[in-house]
């Protein structure tokens, strides 16, 4: 049994504080905006690449997963990952006019759930490279079957190739890269007043 101190301080009260709520919205906004720049560049490139562009974009799938592990690592609350993904998708669809339309909300929720499961299993305590990698793997793996249904990938000859590329991308970009970003943010000190900073103080 670990000492009670190691438990995230925020896990005690159920209601989200406005600070945590706004942080998750801010993450959704910033990532929504960065995705939007990214998509602009990407659409031009994928049109230029023709049919190969459809497959090539899977290499970057993990980047859509980033916001969930980052939100979870900072606020360390149940549902933070799902919530962050859904907010980011709302920003994309409603304010930036995403192509997928409101079906993106469903995809985002599934993606967030996948990314969140590994953290939830450690009761939001373990933030090792392994947990992040698993988070990326599940995030990409879970949403794959939904995307496959939505985009009609079943029955295509490149079905397994799609799955493999997406899983690898999920682990590397959506998992390991998220840890790099979280550690860098932690070092700057901007997240000191959130659960991540409190936990670091409790350990020190």
């Amino acid at each position: 049994m670990r000492p009670d101190l190691s438990r995230p301080a925020s896990a005690h009260n159920k209601r989200w504080s406005l600070k945590d709520l706004v942080l998750v919205v801010v993450l959704g906004v910033v990532f929504g905006f960065l995705y939007w720049i990214f998509v602009q560049a990407w659409t031009a490139l994928s049109i230029a690449m023709g049919p190969a562009g459809d497959l090539a974009q899977h290499f970057l799938l993990g980047s859509w997963l980033l916001v969930a592990p980052i939100a979870i690592a900072i606020v360390r609350r149940p549902f933070a990952g799902i919530f962050a993904e859904v907010i980011a998708s709302v920003i994309e669809v409603v304010f930036l006019g995403s192509m997928v339309g409101p079906l993106l909300f469903v995809g985002a929720a599934i993606q967030g759930a996948g990314s969140e499961i590994p953290f939830a299993l450690t009761r939001y305590r373990n933030y090792s490279w392994r947990t992040y990698a698993l988070s990326g793997l599940l995030g990409a793996g879970l949403v794959f079957f939904y995307s496959a249904f939505r985009s009609g990938w079943y029955g295509q000859e490149i079905f397994l190739l799609r799955l493999a590329i997406q899983l690898i991308s999920g682990v590397i970009i959506g998992g390991l890269f998220a840890k790099i970003i979280v550690d860098a943010l932690d070092k700057t000190g901007v997240v000191d007043n959130f659960a991540i900073g409190r936990d670091r103080l409790a350990r020190a």
């Binding site: 989200w16 406005l18 600070k19 709520l21 706004v22 942080l23 919205v25 801010v26 993450l27 959704g28 906004v29 910033v30 929504g32 905006f33 960065l34 720049i37 659409t43 994928s46 049109i47 023709g50 049919p51 562009g53 459809d54 497959l55 907010i87 709302v90 920003i91 669809v93 409603v94 304010f95 006019g97 995403s98 192509m99 997928v100 339309g101 409101p102 079906l103 909300f105 249904f149 939505r150 985009s151 009609g152 079943y154 029955g155 295509q156 000859e157 490149i158 970003i181 860098a184 943010l185 700057t188 901007v190 997240v191 007043n193």
Partner: protein, 274 residues
């Protein structure tokens, strides 16, 4: 957007938003309809049904939203590009009766049909999304979700604050890029480097800046009493019989088209993918 914000700030009366027939409709109802139609389309895999729906949606939006033709066509480009990609990939990557072959490339009838179905589905969702985005104000949508869909006031105002932040982001982005450009070593031609690394640095700076700003935002929202009940709304968004009539009309058309398509034997479901 700016004029809309100004009217929101100065005129608090529960007036009807100005504009055309579609932009006067309740945003929550519009979003719900967009969601339902997209969901139903997800289970339709023949090209005819979405084609009919696309033509109907195009006509309905053109008639009610008064979007300038040029803007309407331009907004179609990303959807058309995406649809074309879907058509080509499916035509080339599905087993079936070979229609045309050249070396490793072969087009199958099955692939072409599924590809056309998916492409047309993208266009239906696309034209409806264009209609939605161009006829709906973001602030009105959040207010309406708060009023009509029981979205909590803390969440509503957090998202609205996020929306204000989003409007500032392009400027912040430029400022950061300029600040970085002043300090980086220049390239041989005297211009700042445009590498992925530089973009990454700017993106991280934007993230840090926004988190710091968000913390201040949360404090000021809380100090102004957000979260206290009961909550009054400054400018109420109307939800009228016309809105319900629109919902009924859209759902009826959807039902009739899908029903007729099933009756005529055109409708194909998921089993097409084999």
């Amino acid at each position: 957007m700016t004029s809309e914000l100004i009217t929101t700030r100065t005129g608090a009366a529960p007036t009807r938003p100005p504009g055309n027939l579609l932009s006067r409709r309740n945003p929550t109802i519009k979003l719900a309809l967009l969601f339902i139609v997209s969901l139903v389309l997800m289970f339709i895999f023949d090209p005819i049904t979405p084609l009919v729906l696309y033509l109907l949606a195009l006509g309905a939006i053109a008639a009610t939203a008064r979007i300038p033709v040029k803007a309407f066509v331009l907004a179609h480009i990303p959807f058309l590009a995406f649809a074309l990609g879907l058509l080509i990939v499916n035509a080339l990557s599905r087993p079936g009766d070979v229609l045309w072959q050249a070396g490793a490339l072969r087009v199958t009838t099955e692939g072409l049909l599924v590809g056309a179905a998916l492409a047309l589905r993208t266009l239906v969702i696309g034209v409806l999304s264009i209609g939605f985005v161009l006829s709906t104000d973001g602030v009105a949508l959040m207010t309406s979700l708060h009023q009509h869909a029981r979205l909590g006031s803390r969440l509503t105002y957090a998202v609205l604050a996020g929306y204000r932040m989003l409007e500032d982001l392009p400027r912040e982005w430029q400022t950061i890029r300029h600040a970085h450009a002043v300090r980086v070593p220049l390239r041989a031609n005297g211009k700042p480097p445009r590498s992925l690394r530089q973009y990454g640095r700017a993106a991280f700076a934007l993230l840090v800046l926004s988190i710091r700003k968000g913390e201040r935002m949360a404090q000021s929202l809380e100090s102004r009493g957000l979260g206290l009940t009961p909550r009054s709304t400054w400018r109420r968004i109307p939800l009228t019989r016309t809105d319900w009539a629109m919902a009924a009309a859209v759902l009826t058309v959807l039902g009739v088209v899908v029903g007729l398509s099933a009756l005529l034997g055109v409708l194909r479901g998921y089993q097409v993918l084999g």
